[in-house]
Amino acid sequence: MMFFKHVLRTFGRQKLSVGLLGVLLVVSGFIYTVMSLSVASVQNASEAFFDTSNQEDVVVQVSPFVGFDEAANAPCDVAPMTALSALYAADQACFEALLAVRLDVVADATEGMDWEWRFHKDGFIDPEGKRHRARILLDNNTINVALIESGTFPDMGEVAVSRTYARLNDIDIGDSVRVGDATYTISGFVLFPDYNLPIFEHLFAFDSAVTTPMAMHEDDFHAFPSSIGVVLSGVGEKTHDALEHALQDTTFVTMVIMTENNPRSGAIYAELDGSQAMGLFLSIAIASIGMIIVGIMVAKTISDDRRALGVFKSMGTTTREIITPYVVAIGVFAVLTLTLGALLGAWVAPWMRGLYLRFYLLPEGDIVYRVSDAMLGIALPTLVVLGLSIWRLEVTIGDRPVAMVAPVVAKPRPVKRAWMRRIINRFHVLTRLQVALLMRQWMKVAVYVFGVSMALYLVFISLSMRGVFDRTMHDYYGNHRYESVVQCDIPASCDANGHERGLTLEAHVAGEQATIIGLEPTSTLYPLVDRRGNNLLDSLEDGLIISRSFQDLSRLRVGDTVTISWFGGEVDVDVIAITDGYPGAHVYVNRVWLSEQAFGRDDVFNRLYTEETASDDAGDFVWHRRAMMSQLEELNTGYRVMIMLMVGASLSIAVIVVYLLSVLTVEGRSYEMSLFKVLGYEPREISRVILGGYTKVNLILFVVMVPMVVFSFMWLRRYFLEWFGMYFPLYVVVVDVIVAAVLFALMSLFGQFHAKKKIARYSLQEAMKRYQV
């Protein structure tokens, strides 16, 4: 019992540090649990859903135009370069015959794969006067079969929407909704397993509060007045490279996207698989820092107690009797704090699951706390903390009692390399002392460097995450000046009179998939500006302008000559400028030039940008910029909460780590600081000599971390763009560097100030007796 009291009082003397350590462990348990439970609930239900629905393995995107060869060999009468959607509207039989030919060509080239066309139309659903977007999918027979979560598959006059959309808009089965110009009855809640069909042009702009996938009876679908979209869904074992190779001579194939890599499903897979890994990684990373700090604190506590322990040992106390109270105290502390974190995590997990379901169209599963969650979230970190503590205790108590009672005088590590010694010997004696103090305890310095680096990285991530979604889309659309974008077929199905024309095609630019956007150089509605705000539209006559996000992906520079290729054609062009903004893999050219290159004439367009709000029947599909922005704002609100949580957690972890490390570092130097005070050194000089080394380490760390963070962000941006087609604009800007420096300095100084104040209370004569240099 006495030993327990001794241990509790020893830790009790470091209330603030122990309290902060507890916060670290609570956060660790919380992050792991909330991520693990929410993702597992969605993941398990999703995997079953993907299996039963026979989810596609690959999507082949095809040219939306009838090629010259196709037109010549078509089983029906069709002009070359007619848009497929226009053909569908004019002659559905011809449209189907042409697609049947295309499917045969693909199937012949890819033996062993199963293929099925996927049809969709876009429309508006108006529950209670609201105006939301719906993507209507025609259900398939074998691939990507719809899942009816509740109710029944729609009959004539009925539709099914996603359950999350229905919940967020108070829609029940049996309710009536207007879709387009007709009224339908909700027959049930539906999910589709293909995520390659973004509701909007922008891949990320999906929010189940204002958009929904929709199922319709086949006859209703064909009768629905909207432009049709097609892709080819495939199931089979072939790899991306094998498919690209097999289809390389098929001119109507524009893109082969594996499900795991496609913009939406890939992001979901990464989210599902990665979230658990990320949650685990994060909690392990945080717990590791926590454990290292626990290790240092235990080591420090034991070092402070070394003489007392030596006395206990000399009295005949066994190692087990000495260790047990430490193990119990640390174990109970770790289990309690981690359990508290787990409870908080379990409490927040349903909310997190709701957030996932709002942005990803996935089935909902129950939240279940499993034994494995307790093992990984509580038991494992506890065992690691305990293992580390026991190891440190064993090392300390392993000494002979007489050695434990005697003052600790460790031998320094003289610099062996002559060139290093020569450099160090040139330093001022105080600098030599700073270097010596750092080298003497290189292990503690290494821990300090590791912990502070992690903390700094968290600070930079937190700062960069602020407004990340504003930077991606909101700012982008906010800078545009048109009110509506009217989507038209080719040949033109809409009246361009009085509007600015655009031509948008999918293409390969320098080997990367990109959206090539043809604009009028005289455009006043679609601005293209560089980072300094200079207008770039004038220079469109001279070549290609790439977005900053595409530059990240392609690593192209101004002056490079690149090859642009699209269905059957290719052309070389110079990169003349880089435009600011993060719309994804977008490149810009002169519309007239693109029209001539792709269609052999200069008047082709498939977009109209209107100064006034266009009516919904102005083209095949119309979307309005302000409505889009208000939806983005709503979407942003959800992400903002999530990001604020992450930023808050990251910053608090960073603050705690830097504070604790600073306190421990200063306290670890209490003897030297006291000795210098006895010798007559002033507090400022003592700080310079004893802590100056750490100040230099901090400075070097910060200077080294900035480029490291810049490179890691660059890699992350490229990774997300390459694999998920998603642009994640993590950037280090000057203001962030300044804020990070100030935050870091404040954290370190606060820790040092607190520790120095504590040391100032030490009795100098007692400090001299400790003699632990």
């Binding site: 003052p407 030599r432 002392l433 103090l437 000795l675 006895v678 007559g680 004569q765 003699y771």
Partner: protein, 233 residues
């Protein structure tokens, strides 16, 4: 630099367990004196040294060093006073093991504008050939000599020595005492040395005896050379 103590009292603990470590202690130490404070364990020797040097505060009384009332000084002033006028030699040497012998002395020398030459001091204490060694490579006596050199490097007017030979054998102890005695004469530094070894008192020009926190006697003495004293008398 002379030292005057007037009715100095210092207690530890509170209430029933309050113990008077120094009880109405007064003394007058002359400039350049070599004072040995003798007394058994618990007599208040270390407390006397600590309050006299400003390392610890006192409850009542006055302490004047070179005309300056150190009992009235604030922490910052005490630090400045120690920096300029006071040197310390501890029983456990208290060297920095991360620095070489010469560097340890330089740490003391850089505190003042015109210090002693560290090399010269190391020569004086017989460590000329050990300047690049680290403290752990030296014997206890040699380490204590480094500690003395460090204390003297800044030309202190007063040198406080807390059982400087407590961890040394007779031979090494006499060497160390001989150095202190020689440097006291050479630099006219006032030396206050506390010890429980009565034999050392023969080195002193002034001997103070303490018991139960009170001064039992103060008397002048004609010092003998260090090698002539009886060890552990």
């Amino acid at each position: 630099m002379g030292i005057q103590l007037k009715s100095v009292t210092k207690s530890y603990g509170e209430g029933d367990v309050k113990t008077k470590a120094l009880d109405d202690v007064s003394m007058d130490i002359k400039d350049g004196a070599f004072v040995v404070v003798l007394g058994p364990s618990g007599s208040g020797k270390s407390t006397l040294l600590n309050v006299m040097s400003g390392l610890d505060s006192l409850d009542q009384g006055e302490i004047t060093i070179g005309g300056a009332r150190i009992d009235q000084m604030k922490d910052k002033e005490l630090t400045a006073f120690r920096r300029k006028h006071v040197g310390f030699v501890f029983q456990q040497y208290n060297l920095l093991h991360t620095l070489t012998v010469k560097e340890n002395v330089e740490i003391g020398a850089r505190l003042v504008d015109e210090p002693h030459d560290p090399m010269r001091l190391l020569e004086d204490v017989g460590l000329k050939n050990h300047v690049t060694k680290y403290p752990f490579q030296l014997s206890g006596g040699e380490q204590q000599r480094v500690s003395i050199a460090r204390a003297l490097a800044k030309k202190p007017k007063v040198l406080f020595c807390d059982e400087p030979t407590g961890a040394l054998d007779e031979k090494m102890g006499k060497v160390v005492l001989g150095i202190l005695q020689r440097l006291n004469k050479k630099h006219n530094t006032t030396v206050v040395l506390i010890t429980h070894n009565a034999g050392i008192a023969r080195l002193a020009t002034q001997v103070v005896r303490l018991n139960s926190g009170k001064v039992v006697s103060v008397h002048d003495n004609k010092p003998v050379a260090a090698e002539e004293i009886s060890w552990g008398e």
